[in-house]
């Protein structure tokens, strides 16, 4: 019964993702006929050399990046919600993506160059983001022992986010205007931040984070009962929590480093998945959350290129419009939603 339901949703979402990927490859600021796109993807040369470049260097990596980022952000949102026993937790609310942003800002402005040129650039940016994200994660973890009330912990996270943002503002105030510009553009969010060369490394990092998440499904279920019950069930709570936070840190850091701090996907998608499935059981919730996240990110990316030749809408102008209504719906109906009680 339950397994069938999640399997059906899984198949539907996979089809959805396939359709959205096709749409993402077909539509963009430049008009390329469908046959030409197909021809290029199957290895042929297009009538215009520019088209080949656009499809391979821009649309294809962007498509894969959106899929992976969506899954990564959603998985980290789900893990944070379970670990902190708080359905409104996510890496942007708790200030973790701000931490990653600060790390990136330090690397970009200190390095004085555009984000990530070559593999060494890639790793220095990822490392910066990872250190920043980890620092905020540790701070939140420490605060979670002092602040038992989950709403208060969220507010503390928002405060940390503000403080980190003001540090970033100070940094940009003292930096060269070129660097500031590239940093501001990056901050608007864009799945096009990963080039074809960087795509394998990027995919590996995300895959590593997601692998940890998937391997921790059993302890995640135990954590639904709270840490004491989980420990009684033989779960090494400290180790599991560290691994979960490591996974969250990697996923947040890698996505933030390349695509900017993307809000609302990590917060909203686990709720969409729970509403679809009607369960908090991570056995089905985790895979459906990953698929939903990928689909939603592809959808948002598609919306961004809707104006066609007029330009591209910043990603962070789209995700809140999609995500915020979900959260408001969930908050209004929280008494009726089983997983809130």
């Amino acid at each position: 019964m339950k397994a069938d339901r999640s399997l059906i949703y899984g198949i539907c979402l996979a089809l959805c993702i396939a359709a959205l990927m096709a749409a993402n490859l077909l539509f963009g600021s430049v008009d390329i006929p469908a046959e030409a796109v197909w021809h290029i993807l199957s290895g042929g040369e297009a009538e215009k050399a520019g088209w080949t470049y656009i499809v391979w260097e821009s649309r294809f990596p962007q498509c894969v990046t959106a899929l992976l980022c969506g899954a990564a952000l959603s998985a980290s949102g789900l893990m944070l919600q379970t670990v902190f026993n708080n359905p409104l937790a996510d890496s942007s609310i708790l200030g973790i993506s701000s931490g990653a942003s600060l790390g990136v800002a330090l690397v970009v402005m200190a390095g004085g160059g555009a984000v990530g040129l070559g593999l060494s650039g890639f790793f220095s940016v990822v490392l910066g983001a990872l250190v920043g994200a980890a620092a905020v994660l540790l701070l939140i973890l420490f605060l979670s022992f002092l602040i038992r009330d989950s709403v208060m912990l969220l507010i503390a996270g928002i405060m940390i986010g503000y403080v980190v943002s003001s540090v970033i503002s100070l940094l940009s105030f003292f930096s060269a205007s070129d660097n500031v510009h590239s940093f501001v553009v990056w901050g608007l969010g864009n799945f096009g931040g990963v080039s074809l060369d960087q795509l394998p490394a990027f995919s590996c990092c995300v895959a590593a984070g997601l692998l940890i998440a998937v391997l921790l499904i059993k302890p995640l279920n135990a954590l639904l009962l709270g840490t004491r019950y989980a420990e009684n069930l033989g779960i090494n709570v400290r180790r599991v929590r560290n691994l979960l936070l490591l996974s969250t840190g990697i996923l947040t850091a890698v996505t933030t480093a390349f695509c900017g701090p993307i809000a609302f996907i990590g917060l909203a998608v686990p709720h969409i998945a729970r509403l679809l499935l009607g369960t908090s059981n991570h056995n089905s919730l985790m895979p459906v959350t990953l698929l939903c996240g990928g689909a939603l990110a592809l959808f948002c990316n598609l919306v961004c290129v809707l104006p066609g030749s007029l330009g591209v809408i910043p990603l962070n102008a789209v995700t809140p419009v999609v995500g915020a209504p979900v959260i408001i719906y969930v908050i209004i109906n929280r008494r009726k939603l089983q997983y809130f009680n």
């Binding site: 339950k2 379970t82 026993n85 391997l215 499904i217 059993k218 279920n221 135990a222 639904l224 009962l225 709270g226 004491r228 019950y229 420990e231 009684n232 069930l233 033989g234 779960i235 090494n236 729970r274 009607g278 369960t279 908090s280 059981n281 056995n283 939603l337 089983q338 997983y339 809130f340 009680n341």
Partner: protein, 341 residues
């Protein structure tokens, strides 16, 4: 009781909290928990019942002394081994509203399942059996959020049951339940202890039920440590009163097995009744109104008011030389109010 085994034994155990502001709550506790018996831990609020239970369930290390589980120190078991020996039901808030009762109970199989927590046929049999034993199988497909408090507690007991532990510890499993559920839960736990030969220890404030259903009592008082014994031995040795030592206004009613406020009356009355039930409730009413009740022998020559309860509709009162026949207790107290000075 030939095959009685001490599942857990404490010798000179000290419990409490470590750390800077840590303190020893109790020291030198000696006890044994036997299989096949229901043991109730009684104590006033703040007496340290939860601290003791958490120490016994190894969720908190002992501060001194020895604590043995099946003949070996509790600390010598690995987390995994312990999860198959000690099952707990705590008062912690859980996040399980979005799971079905079946899924919640299935979490209790985690110590027995593999890395991904897949349930085999034996696991499923155990879950069905536990749902049945706890009397909650008719709700197995219902969300935990939709259960009443009593049903939720039964589900948590079923969850502890599928862990297949010889020792089950429960922290106030009957708190917040109505009297029917309280009796159901206590009777269920007693039945499980006997039928499955488990050692079951629960803390409770429900003295009346504990005295009826518990094989053994553990009395934990703020100052004089832990006192253990078979229920009736402790009752008849007047040990129950020691629970609330120093409380002048509460006393243990040896006859009826419950606590009641001490009678604060200066007035005295001679009471006769045609049977024990009438005598009990007449005394109850008179005590509440500040009358000490004496029988005819004690009252001889004292010239006290005299009440003879012949039936609930016929109460004969002699006060100040006048005779009244009252038709109810309401009537009786009206007459007493007028005639007492």
């Amino acid at each position: 009781m030939g095959s009685r085994v001490a599942v857990m034994e404490g010798r000179g155990l000290a419990v409490g909290y470590r750390g800077k502001q840590g303190k020893v709550v109790h020291r030198d506790l000696n006890f044994r928990l036997y299989s096949g018996e229901l043991t109730c831990l009684l104590g006033a609020n703040g007496a340290g019942k939860s601290t003791l239970l958490r120490t016994l369930s190894a969720l908190q290390p002992p501060l001194g002394g020895e604590l043995e589980l099946l003949g070996r120190p509790v600390g010598s078991y690995s987390l995994k081994e312990r999860s198959r020996l000690i099952g707990v039901v705590l008062t912690d808030k859980t996040q399980t509203g979005g799971l079905t009762v079946y899924e919640l109970v299935a979490l209790g199989r985690q110590p027995h399942t593999g890395f991904f927590g897949r349930l085999d046929a034996h696991d499923k049999d155990m879950i069905d059996y536990a749902l049945q034993a706890a009397g909650i199988s008719h709700k197995s497909d219902v969300y935990v959020a939709q259960l009443s408090d009593g049903e939720r507690q039964k589900a948590m007991i079923a969850r502890a049951l599928v862990q297949e532990c010889p020792l089950v510890l429960l922290d106030e499993p009957t708190a917040f339940l109505d009297v029917v559920s309280r009796i159901e839960i206590m009777a269920l736990l007693r039945r499980l202890a006997v039928e499955e030969n488990k050692a079951v220890l629960l803390s409770t404030h429900d003295v009346e039920q504990a005295l009826v259903l518990s094989d053994r009592l553990w009395l934990l008082a703020g100052t004089c440590g832990l006192e253990c014994g078979v229920t009736e031995d402790l009752i008849l040795a007047n040990r129950i009163d020691s629970l609330f030592k120093g409380q002048q206004n509460v006393r243990f009613d040896l006859m009826h097995g419950g606590f009641s406020p001490t009678v604060e009356g200066k007035k005295r009355i001679c009471l006769e009744a045609s049977d024990e039930v009438l005598r009990h409730w007449a005394q109850n009413a008179l005590n509440r109104h500040g009358y000490f009740c004496l029988d005819s022998e004690q009252a001889a020559g004292l010239n006290l008011p005299f009440l003879d309860v012949q039936s609930s509709r016929q109460l004969l009162l002699v006060v100040g030389g006048a005779e009244f026949v009252c038709s109810s207790f309401e009537n009786l107290f009206e007459v007493l109010a007028i005639n007492s000075d």
